[in-house]
Amino acid sequence: MAEDTSSKEYWRWTESNWHDPDIDWKAGDIISAGVDVGSVSSQAVIMVDGKLFAYSNMRTGSDSPKSAQDAMDWALEGTELTQDNIEYVVGTGYGRVNVPFSKRAITEIACHGRGANYMYGPTIKTVLDMGGQDCKAIRVDEKGKVVSFLMNDKCAAGTGRGMEVFADLLGVHITKAGEMSLQVEEEPPMVSSTCVVFAKSEASALLREGWPKEKVLAAYCLAMAHRVVGLLERLGIEEDFAITGGIAKNIGIVSRIEKELGIKALKPSIDTQIAGALGGALFANALAKKERKKGK
C-alpha cells in the first residue's frame, strides 16, 4: 500500500486487510470470527477450524455498530465467503456490546491473552497490549488463559493517543516516529511530565530551545516506555514476553521497553493489532463446537 507522507494527518496509520489464499474455507468445518471494536481501531478476524484465514484492521468510526460491520465486510472482501457462512461471532473490545451480529461479547483482556497465545505459542507468559486509549499488562498460562492483569484506561500517558499527540505536534507521520526517535547519538533525558497535556508543553519548550525532532521523540518514547514498564513491574513479569497492539509497531518504544526491562520481546509474525479479534475468533470456534454438542 502506498503511503502518503505529505498528508497533514500525521496520526493516520496504515489500514489493511488480508486473507490466506492457501486455505480452502469450503473444505473447513467450523468458520468462526472475532470482531474487536476498540476506541481507535477495529479489527475482524475470520478463522477456519481455528486457523487464521482472513482479517481486516481499520479505524473505528463514530458509530460502533457500523465500525463492526465495516471491519467484517472488509475482512470478507475477496474471500468469496459471506457473513452467513460464519457460524459463530464473538465481539470484543471497548465497543464489544455494539457488535450487532455477534452471539457473545467477551472482554478484551481474555481475548488478548488468547490471541497472544495463538500468535506467539504456549511459551508466552506476559503480554503487554498497548492500544489506542489504554494499556494492559496481562499474565497468561500456557493455554492463553488470563492469570492476572493490570490496566490503565484512565490516562492517555502510555497509550497510542499520547503518540498521536506527539506526531501531530512534531509534524512527523506516526508510522515513522519510532524509527526517527532512534536517530539520536545518545539518549536524552526523558520527558519528565507524565500527563500528555503537560508533556506536550514540555516538548514545545524543548523545540524552542533548539532540540531536533528526533531528540524530542526519543525523550517521549523513553517516557512512554518508562510508564508502561511501571505497569509491568507492578504485575510481575515472566518470560516469554510480547507486545501487542498498535504501539508494538513502534520500534522506538519497543526497543526502549526492552532496554529498561532487560528482556527482549518476541518478534511478531502476525499484525499485532489483530490480537484481540484473533482471541475472539478462537473463543468463537470453541463456543461453536460447544453449541453443536448441545444441539445433538
Binding site: 463514530s62 486509549q133 492517555a156 493517543r161 499520547g162 500527563c195 500528555v196
Partner: protein, 257 residues
C-alpha cells in the same frame, strides 16, 4: 511598609504591591519564553499602578512554580504558604483553601490561626487544573471566557466518562457529533473537573468555610459545579488569581505568618 509579592505561575506572572495590608497596585503578564523579562514587566506594571518606585519597595517575596527565577526577591515562599496567607487575610473564617491554577490544583487545610495543617497537590495531571477547561473550550470551539457562562444555562447533566484531558477531548467531540447542546457539554466539563478537585480536597478534609482562589475561580461554571459537588457555599475573592501574590507580599511585610 511597602512590599511586593511576585507569583511566577505556569501561565502567568502576577504581582501585588501593598502597604500595611492595603493593595496599592497589581500587575499581570502572560508567561512567555523569557521569564526574567516577564517578571520585570509585571513588576513595572505593578509599580506604575501603585505609583511607587522600585526603591520604595522595601521587601520582595516570590512564590509560584518559577519563584527561583525572581532574582530581585529577598526571600521565597511555597505556593501553599502564600496561598494560605493571602486567603486567610481576605477571609479569616476560611478553613479550607482551594487553589486551581493553570497547571496545578491545591487544597489546603488551615487552623483558626491561619496555620497550614495539611495540604494536597495535583501537579501531574491536567484534568484537575485550568489546562483541562482550556482544552475543552478548544474542542468546543469556544473562547475560554464563554465556557463558564454558557454552562450556567445548561438544563441537563450529561455524564462524562473520561477523566484524562486527552480522552475527554475526544469525548467532547463525540458528544458534539451526537448533537448534545454545547451548554450541556460545558456543564459536563465543569462537573468532571469539580469532581476531581473535590476528591483532592476530601483527602485533606473539607472544613467550612471554603475559599476558592486561582485563575479558575473566575469561571462561574466551575464555581457552580464545585458548590454542587461540595454541597456548600464557597468564598471567592475579587481577584482570585492574585491571592498567592498577595500572600507573598503580606508575608514580606510580616503581616501574615
Amino acid at each position: 511598609m511597602v512590599t511586593a509579592g511576585i507569583d511566577v505561575g505556569a501561565k502567568n506572572v502576577k504581582i501585588i504591591i501593598q502597604d500595611n495590608g492595603k493593595v496599592l497596585g497589581k500587575g499581570q503578564v502572560t508567561a512567555g519564553f523569557d521569564t526574567a523579562s516577564d517578571i520585570k514587566e509585571a513588576l513595572d506594571a505593578g509599580l506604575a499602578e501603585a505609583g511607587v518606585t522600585r526603591e520604595q519597595v522595601e521587601t520582595i517575596y516570590a512564590t509560584g512554580a518559577g519563584r527561583k527565577e525572581v532574582k530581585d526577591a529577598d526571600d521565597s515562599y511555597t505556593e501553599v504558604g502564600a496561598d494560605a496567607a493571602g486567603a486567610i487575610y481576605l477571609f479569616p473564617s476560611a478553613r479550607t483553601v482551594i487553589d486551581v491554577g493553570a497547571e496545578e490544583g491545591r487544597a489546603i487545610k488551615v487552623d483558626e490561626k491561619g496555620k497550614v495543617v495539611d495540604f494536597a497537590i495535583n501537579e501531574r495531571c491536567a484534568a484537575g487544573a485550568g489546562a483541562f477547561t482550556e482544552a475543552m473550550a478548544r474542542a468546543l470551539e469556544l473562547p475560554l471566557t464563554e465556557l463558564g457562562p454558557l454552562s450556567l444555562t445548561s438544563t441537563r447533566a450529561v455524564p462524562m466518562n473520561a477523566q484524562c484531558a486527552v480522552f475527554a477531548e475526544s469525548e467532547v467531540v463525540s458528544l458534539i457529533h451526537q448533537k448534545t447542546p454545547k451548554r450541556d457539554i460545558a456543564r459536563a466539563v465543569h462537573d468532571a473537573m469539580a469532581s476531581r478537585i473535590t476528591s483532592m480536597a476530601r483527602r485533606v478534609g473539607v472544613e467550612p468555610e471554603v475559599c476558592l482562589i486561582g485563575g479558575v475561580a473566575k469561571n462561574p461554571g466551575f464555581i457552580d459545579s464545585l458548590k454542587r459537588d461540595l454541597e456548600m457555599e464557597i468564598l471567592i475573592p475579587e481577584d482570585p488569581e492574585f491571592v498567592s501574590a498577595l500572600g507573598a507580599a503580606l508575608l514580606a511585610a510580616g503581616i501574615a505568618n
